[in-house]
Amino acid sequence: MEKIIEIVDTIDTAKVYSELSDAKSGGICVFVGTVREFTNEEKVVALEFETYKVMALKEMEKIADKAMEKWSLNKVIMRHAVGEKSVTEPVVIVGASSAHRDACFEACRFLIDTLKETVPIWKKEKFKNNSVWVSAHP
């Protein structure tokens, strides 16, 4: 089992398939999170991501390890970007390869869902006249 866990400035989506490709795998499932132009009808200028890097990497490792326990996976990738990202830019990419497609689909969904719940990364939405830390308040 190979895993790639990274916090980076810029995500290169073109290389993820070769990173997950594997002779024992028949399926690769990848999710890319990108910056949307509108949140609740309000135009987003950019998103700003901040992280507690040492802890974020540890938490991402835990998620990848858990996915490898739950499913039969050959390779796993979790890569999150930090800094300011504009509309359509990738902010996160997660994926897995496996012999059969059930495992990589379920694992991929688990990777992104759990990342959003536990990894110490914070997103600020920047609008024209203000900015908001996402999910901070009820």
Binding site: E50, W122, S135
Partner: protein
């Protein structure tokens, strides 16, 4: 004892790191630290949640703090 602040917690405190002076009484547990923060900065009680990490691991309220720990305040996460 140093405490790191991220995201909205950093905005509330106005700093990314606070050092408790040697001679000041320091919180002995995660719960005590949260209580002390909420008392000093009422904005913390308005957040959706507030977690504390000790040595870069989520720590429960009863975890004991020692002065060499790396402590971080984790407001609601929103990666992805």
């Amino acid at each position: 004892m140093n405490v790191l602040f991220f995201g909205i917690a950093k905005d509330i405190v106005g700093s990314s790191e606070i050092t408790f002076p040697e001679d000041l009484e320091k919180p002995g547990t995660v719960a005590a630290l949260k209580k002390q923060l909420a008392a000093t900065y009422p904005e913390f009680s308005k957040l959706n949640s507030l977690a504390v990490a000790v040595n870069s691991e989520y720590a429960a309220d009863d975890v004991t703090l020692v002065s060499t720990d790396e402590i971080a305040i984790i407001p609601p996460v929103s990666g992805g």
